[in-house]
């Protein structure tokens, strides 16, 4: 009887649509079509199927390499699916509870509220993260992702999860890694299907079709991609950037260091003033974009302001291109943290996915890089700037 009433009311009012699958990465497919001059439709569809076999669905995730301890399956299950909680207060469906409205189910950064964010929410599928302790081209460590979750990003919509149960935060770290690896594998498999398996308007010959079982050419390509992406995540600890000891200076020594840092800031090697402005107020005009935007604009020969040319990409879900702005250093707000170690790494590695360049660390001043001491002077100057307005 109760079920009959439930069915009747739901029939009248409507219910949640079931979420059977992750959406395919159409924007990337269109970019590939533009650069490869071949249809990516078939490859995209087959890649979606294969990736679903490997990684599961938004309600039922799986981890394709069980011997890999990157992500705990229990945590993935806790983070996926609809929001609910258990008698002891354990929360389930954590990603939908905390993240999905901005980052979307796929971690594409195309969530419902994404258009209102500046900068846009991160698209995890590129496997590129800005705020980390590792080398520029490498994945972040678990600790890096955890730090971002706990500290949040001031001045953006990215919240601090400091008040959330630490176990929930750990589970979300796993789920971010899951979405990132899943998304990157999908991208690479689509590209490999076109480049190596002759995917085009039609499927390739038998044995060359994408396969999740490591059988045939298609299967080998998929597993090569899978192992490569997972290995990149597994070896992040080996690529942490060491930070030399930093001295807390006071008085005249600090003032002298800040003065030297100011020279470095305006100097030819670092040339921070070239983007951040002579006074660090970020007021210089910029025409550059981040890598996530460049993928469907400048890198495939499209002008970001050309609405007509971008129309297919926008219809596929791409957000309107927005210029990237150099940080205003005077406000004291550093998205990736303003401590000395974070600033040191940002100067020596740049910021992945953005135009912020890296400065080479040299042992002796040679006009091509900065010594460690010069970098610390620069760090002190930037920290000094952040306290002025």
């Amino acid at each position: 009887m109760r079920n009959a009433v439930l069915i009747a009311v739901c029939f009248i009012l409507g219910c949640d649509a079931r979420i059977e699958t992750f959406l395919p990465n159409r924007v990337f497919s269109l970019s590939l079509e533009k650069t490869r001059g071949a249809s990516a439709e078939r490859a995209t569809e087959d890649a979606r199927r294969v990736v679903q076999e490997l990684y599961g669905t938004p309600d039922d995730p799986s981890w394709p390499l069980p011997d890999n301890n990157l992500a705990d399956l229990q945590n993935l299950v806790r983070s996926s699916g609809p929001v609910s909680s258990e008698k002891d207060g354990t929360h389930l469906g954590l990603f939908r509870e905390h993240c999905v409205v901005c980052h979307a189910l796929e971690g594409s950064g195309l969530g419902a509220a994404s258009v209102f964010q500046n900068p846009y929410p991160r698209d995890f599928r590129h496997g590129v993260f800005k705020w980390k302790s590792t080398e520029r081209g490498k994945k972040p460590t678990r600790h890096d992702i955890r730090q971002i979750l706990v500290n949040g990003i001031p001045g953006t919509a990215m919240p601090s999860f400091a008040l959330v149960d630490p176990e929930d935060v750990d589970a979300l770290v796993d789920y971010v890694i899951f979405l990132s690896t899943r998304g990157e594998v999908e991208r690479r498999v689509i590209a490999a299907a076109i480049d190596e398996l002759d995917y085009g308007e039609t499927s390739p010959e038998d044995g060359w079709e994408l396969d999740s079982r490591n059988e045939g050419e298609g299967g080998e390509v998929v597993h090569e991609v899978l192992e490569r992406v997972h290995a990149d995540w597994a070896e992040t600890q080996d690529h942490e950037v060491p930070v030399p000891s930093f001295s807390d200076l006071t008085g005249k020594a600090l003032a002298a260091s800040i003065a030297r840092g100011k020279e470095v800031f305006h100097g030819k090697v670092a040339n921070c003033a070239g983007c951040h402005g002579p006074s660090g107020d970020g007021s210089l005009p910029t025409l550059d974009y981040d890598d996530w935007t460049k993928e469907y604009t400048t890198r495939i020969g499209l002008t970001p302001d050309d609405d007509e040319a971008l129309k297919p990409f926008r219809e596929a879900g791409a957000l309107k291109p927005r210029r990237i702005m150099p940080r205003k250093l005077q406000g004291g707000v550093f998205h990736g943290g303003g401590d000395a170690a974070s600033l040191f790494r940002r100067i020596t590695q740049g910021i992945a996915g953005t135009p912020m360049p890296a400065v080479e660390v040299v042992s002796e001043p040679n006009g091509k890089g900065l010594t460690v001491e010069e970098i610390w002077d620069l760090v002190r100057y930037v920290q000094h700037l952040s306290t002025s307005r």
């Binding site: 009433v5 439930l6 009311v9 739901c10 009012l13 409507g14 219910c15 949640d16 649509a17 979420i19 959406l23 938004p58 609809p82 929001v83 609910s84 909680s85 258990e86 008698k87 002891d88 207060g89 929360h91 939908r96 509870e97 905390h98 999905v100 409205v101 901005c102 979307a104 189910l105 195309l110 969530g111 419902a112 509220a113 994404s114 258009v115 209102f116 964010q117 500046n118 949040g152 990003i153 001031p154 001045g155 953006t156 919509a157 990215m158 919240p159 601090s160 999860f161 400091a162 008040l163 959330v164 957000l319 205003k328 406000g331 004291g332 707000v333």
Partner: protein, 355 residues
């Protein structure tokens, strides 16, 4: 003596029903607050079964486990208990109206209230049993409508309903003014529905649809504020404080609601770009599950319901006033209506010197 006795009976009979209606109003607004907190904390599924709580009868669930357990369980079970209390009061209201209310349509109204509270309970239960966000949204939209209905019931069962309006000698309000008063609850409810769609957004919702709802929500908010100002300007000199005061109150409430709306956005998504001139906005840090933040969000929900309730009260009073005043104007000759008769009798009772 006969008239005095009848009037005394009338007030005595009406008094209990009215008090029960007021009690309902006083219970339902906190219920909306707690329900809002349940959604803000994503605690709607903290108790996975229904109508029981973890296998217990709703009223027999161990109170220590409830009070000392997780916060999600505390507010979800508390929401259910308070809802059950509202249901019991609604049953008492129906019973008292059945035995003591002479106006048949008021009796029907009390049955409507009971039916509404049962439906609301069913919606809440189905939301849990099927873990369905859409039903949660419908449940969230139906609550304020029920609240407004309770307020309307409190107005029609009040003393003033039977004796206040007919003594006025003014002309009825203009049709344009009445239209404004009608528009306020309509727009308020539209806002509630739009807000509910933002609050219960589906995980696979597209940015375009969300942005459109946000834009509509903001535009309608300011339009509603403008309408409340217009309505107050038209009503303020009608000579009836029971109309002009709620009309003025609505301006303040909608203003507060807009401020709470901005606050709700800020604590959820940070400062919007158009407000980045606000001191501290560039370094503002959003906090997930912050208590004060959740209170801001929930108060936005509760104030929306309050606006709907006050505007519904104003509408019912205005319609009643129009009805009585038009009767006066149309008749032009004193042939007392049922209510005027009661009113006149009441005055005689209350002021014997004028007899």
């Amino acid at each position: 003596m006969g008239a005095e006795s009848n009037l005394a009976d009338f007030h005595e009979q009406g008094s209990l029903i009215h008090r029960l209606c007021v009690l309902l109003v006083c219970l339902v607004w906190p219920l909306i607050w707690v329900g809002g907190l349940v959604t803000t904390y994503d605690a709607g599924m903290a108790v996975p079964d229904w109508p029981g709580t973890y296998g217990y009868n709703l009223f027999l669930y161990p109170y220590k486990t409830w009070l000392l357990g997780p916060f999600d369980l505390f507010i979800e079970h508390g929401h259910r208990l308070l809802g059950a209390v509202v249901g019991l009061v609604a049953i008492c209201l129906v019973a008292s109206a059945y035995f003591r209310e002479r106006r048949r349509w008021v009796v029907v109204l009390t049955w409507g209230l009971l039916l509404a509270v049962i439906s609301q309970g069913l919606l809440g239960g189905m939301r849990v049993v099927w873990s369905d966000r859409t039903l949660a949204m419908v449940h969230g939209c139906f609550g304020p409508a029920f609240f407004a209905l309770c307020v309307a019931a409190a107005v029609v069962t009040g003393r003033r309903w039977n004796g206040y309006w007919a003594r006025l000698g003014e002309r009825p309000l203009s049709p344009g003014c009445v239209a404004l008063v009608v528009a306020i609850p309509v727009l308020s409810y539209t806002q509630l529905v739009l807000g509910a769609q933002l609050r219960h957004v589906q995980p696979n919702a597209a940015p375009g649809g969300f942005a459109m709802i946000v834009a509509t929500h903001v535009i309608v908010a300011f339009f509603l504020w403008f309408i409340t100002m217009l309505a107050w300007l038209r009503i303020r000199r009608c000579g009836d404080l029971t109309l002009s005061r709620p009309a003025g109150l609505l301006i303040g409430l909608v203003g507060i609601q807009i401020a709470l709306g901005v606050g709700t956005w800020v604590v959820n998504y940070g400062w919007p770009t158009i407000l980045d001139w606000f001191p501290g906005s560039t370094g503002f840090l959003v906090r997930a599950k912050g208590f004060s933040d959740s209170i801001i969000v929930t108060s936005h929900v509760a104030t929306g319901s309050l606006i709907l309730a006050v505007s519904s009260m104003l509408l019912v009073r205005v319609l009643r006033s129009q009805h009585c005043l038009k009767s006066n104007v149309d008749r032009d000759v004193a042939e007392p209506t049922e209510y005027e008769y009661r009113n006149n009798t009441e005055q005689q009772v209350l002021e014997p010197a004028t007899v």
